[in-house]
């Protein structure tokens, strides 16, 4: 028995020693903290051939040149892996020193409110990152002590942006004698022309995000910034039975009734919608800038894009964030890395590979298509037009919206019933977060 007791004591002592050491390693602190670290553990989830993947490979290269003697331990993670495990990882000592993480209340907001992310406010002001990001881009970087985005301290830095637009197949437009619309009326007339010729003008995907985003675009046509603040930042209660949401749901139902959207698209996924557009089966889709690079690579027909006609506000936001976990042992190095990703040459690399940089010098973007993508983004961003995404306000709202708009596509519920179905989970979720 004595032997077992000795072993037990040894185990307990080892455990205490482990926690004490860990506690010494990672406390919050100033900008110079961890500047003498010899390792920078970096995680992100961009594929190596995506615009961000390419840009960040280059940023790592520059970082290594500027920090000789520091080893960069880079690990490519899966999006879902980080999404579902970040809380646990950052609560342990196994986390990285810097990590790409999703923006929003349920992700970066939640972790920041639990003290798992480093407050980057001082560093942001010192290095001027705040000057490079427009107010609507800053929204996703700053969180209150309850983890609600919009204002408060900086907990992440975005390097790129994204927004929803209309992609169109030029060849199909020409073949059917349809002019590129510049107003909302012209847009619906263009769709009427396609319908009259037996072509469904908009590919849709009821089983995933595209349907919710189309609804949101339609609602935003009648919205202003105060609606977005109320809906996304809970500044005031939102009435789902009033415009703009009412108008959005009604317009969506009309799109289905008029044949702008196929009645049998409820089970389709975003990928189905994208491939229908790539293969030239449909003339238009309403979706995000994340498709841009892929269409450039894979589409045989001529194509282009325009901002959703008539909308000042568009679904869109900053991209994901660089966050520095509280347990990081190389915070200073992490800030240096973020700083490199903000440099014009890295930003240009994002832009030249089909991404949307947040602080690029437009003259450095050589490809005309990429240039247009960035110019359109700058237009939206500068007019404070990024309205985020409809599923952001509360955790789990994505599936609520998917279910709601599947009902509209199937015609199994009226717009009024759908608004009821999506209103309750919203108010329950907001209550959960704000306690009001």
């Amino acid at each position: 028995m004595g032997r077992f007791r000795k072993l037990g004591v040894a185990v307990v002592l080892a455990a205490i020693a482990g926690t004490t050491l860990a506690a010494c390693g990672g406390d919050g602190g100033g900008g110079s903290e961890g500047s003498d670290a010899k390792v920078l553990k970096l995680w992100h989830y961009e594929s190596d051939n995506s615009a961000m993947g390419i840009a960040w490979d280059k940023a790592i290269e520059i970082f290594k040149t500027e920090h000789p003697g520091v080893e960069v331990q880079f690990e490519r993670k899966a999006f879902e892996q980080i999404q579902q495990n970040a809380g646990m990882i950052l609560n342990s000592t196994e986390g990285p020193d810097i990590m790409e993480y999703n923006k929003g209340n349920a992700t970066a907001g939640l972790l920041s409110s639990q003290g798992l992310l480093t407050d980057l406010t001082a560093e942001t002001e010192k290095r001027g990152w705040d000057k490079k990001l427009s107010p609507s881009l800053q929204t996703t970087a700053r969180y209150s002590d309850k983890g609600v985005m919009g204002d408060g301290n900086w907990y992440g830095i975005p390097n790129y942006g994204e927004y929803v637009m209309v992609y169109y197949n030029k060849d199909l437009f020409d073949k059917n004698g349809v002019a590129v619309p510049t107003t909302y009326d012209e847009f619906t007339k263009a769709m009427d022309t396609f319908v009259a010729k037996g072509i469904t003008p908009l590919a849709e995907a009821g089983a995933e995000y595209p349907a919710g985003q189309l609804f949101y675009q339609l609602a935003l046509a009648k919205a202003d910034r105060s609606f977005v603040d109320n809906y996304q930042l809970y500044k005031n209660p939102v009435d789902f039975k009033a415009d703009p949401l009412k108008a959005g749901a009604q317009a969506f139902a009309d799109y289905v009734a008029k044949g702008y959207v196929a009645k049998d698209s409820a089970s389709l996924k975003a990928e189905d919608m994208g491939t229908a557009f790539i293969s030239g089966k449909v003339p238009m889709i309403v979706s995000g800038s994340w498709w841009y690079g892929r269409f450039k690579d894979e589409m045989k027909a001529n194509w282009d894009s325009f901002l959703f006609p008539g909308n000042k506000l568009n679904a869109g936001s900053s991209g994901n964030l660089w966050v520095v976990p509280t347990s990081s042992k190389a915070k200073s190095l992490a800030y240096d890395f973020i700083d490199i990703t903000m440099r014009p040459e890295i930003q240009a690399l994002i832009g030249n590979n089909g991404g949307v940089p947040v602080a690029a010098d437009a003259s450095q973007i050589t490809d005309p298509k990429n240039k247009k993508l960035i110019e359109n983004f700058n237009t939206v961003s500068q007019q404070d037009g990024l309205a985020f995404y409809p599923d952001w306000p509360v955790p789990g709202y994505y599936d609520v919206l998917v279910s709601g708009f599947q009902s509209l596509i199937n015609g199994s519920k009226t717009p009024d019933q759908v608004l009821d179905a999506i209103a309750k989970p919203y108010s329950d979720g907001v209550k959960e977060i704000t306690g009001k």
Binding site: D264, S265, G396
Partner: protein
């Protein structure tokens, strides 16, 4: 002779140690059970009494999650859908499997070669070998609006029946059920055919000599002889149906409008998407409880049936 030497030793050892020595052999299993099942179960039970987002400290709220659960419409819908899953994963495959196994064993293997029956058995079992998510994705392609099933309907002149099978709340659940029958059918066939092999062929021969037709033989010999296997199949398939997740995740994600939502998916969604770990734990706990009760009932029925057999 060796047996007679060993046999008397047993009761002597039992008397001396009272069986206590055997507990040592149970220790590895018990430790594993506590680590792999007991501790997580206790953890889930505790979490089900809390409100927790997955990070930070859980807040103890007593039975609030359970009160909320029993008033939750989605929870009841998910259990209603489970009944449909039991039909698709237990009732139909067991009945159909019984019939197919008997036909393969008794008719195909006799009229053709046993190898033909074995090949057909393997063909039926194939869906069981496929990872369920892969099968789900492939079936998703088949059932989509421009998928193979609608094309097939077109080509045989039934184009009017074209449909968004997984997108319409009225057809989504029957479609998922059909896929599940396809996935499940091989399992009872293989078990029942193995069971049939241990049935004394003389029973069949004697029955045939007495003039029993196929149906009589199936009912009086096949069904009676393979009853223990039927219990095992029904129990394992019912548990699988109660906790079904993969196919629902791959095919419909519980939609449209919760038409195919099941308790496991509902728990997953609440855990990982809504970040309501406490509530998700309450769902899991109720599900576990139901599975334990169902398993206990089955085992008791099987035990009773075996006892009746012995008494006969």
């Amino acid at each position: 002779m060796a047996l007679t030497e060993i046999e008397p030793a047993k009761p002597r050892r039992k008397r001396r140690g009272g069986g206590a020595g055997y507990w040592l052999y149970l220790l590895p299993g018990a430790v594993l059970f506590i680590l792999v099942i007991g501790a997580p179960l206790a953890g889930t039970l505790y979490l089900s009494l809390t409100k927790w987002s997955g990070v930070g400290d859980p807040t103890f709220i007593g039975f609030d999650n359970y009160t909320r659960l029993f008033q939750d419409e989605v929870f009841w819908t998910s259990f209603k859908n489970t009944l449909a899953m039991i039909v698709a994963m237990v009732v139909v495959p067991t009945l159909l499997g019984l019939l197919l196994a008997a036909v393969l064993f008794d008719v195909i293997a006799r009229r053709f070669k046993p190898r033909t029956a074995a090949a057909l058995r393997a063909a039926f079992y194939l869906p069981q070998v496929l990872p369920v998510v892969v099968a789900g994705i492939v079936w998703g392609w088949i059932l989509r609006p421009d998928g193979a099933f609608n094309s097939l309907l077109d080509s045989i002149g039934l184009g009017a029946l074209r449909h968004d099978w997984l997108g319409d709340p009225h057809t989504a659940l029957p479609s998922v059920m059909a896929v599940m029958i396809w996935v499940q059918i091989g399992y009872p066939i293989v078990v029942f055919m193995a069971a049939l092999q241990r049935v004394d062929p003389e029973l069949y021969e004697a029955a045939e000599v007495d003039g029993a037709n196929w149906w009589h033989r199936f009912r009086s010999i096949t069904l009676a002889q393979i009853r223990p296997e039927t219990f095992v199949v029904a129990l394992t398939c019912t548990i699988a149906a109660l906790k079904v997740f993969g196919p629902v995740f791959a095919l419909t994600r519980g939609g449209p409008e919760n038409a195919t939502n099941v308790p496991s998916y509902f728990a997953y969604f609440t855990f990982f998407k809504k970040l309501q770990v406490g509530y998700g734990s309450a769902i899991s706990t109720v599900l576990t409880l139901i599975i334990v009760v169902v398993a206990a009932v089955f085992i008791w029925l099987q035990y009773r049936s075996e006892r009746q057999d012995r008494e006969v």
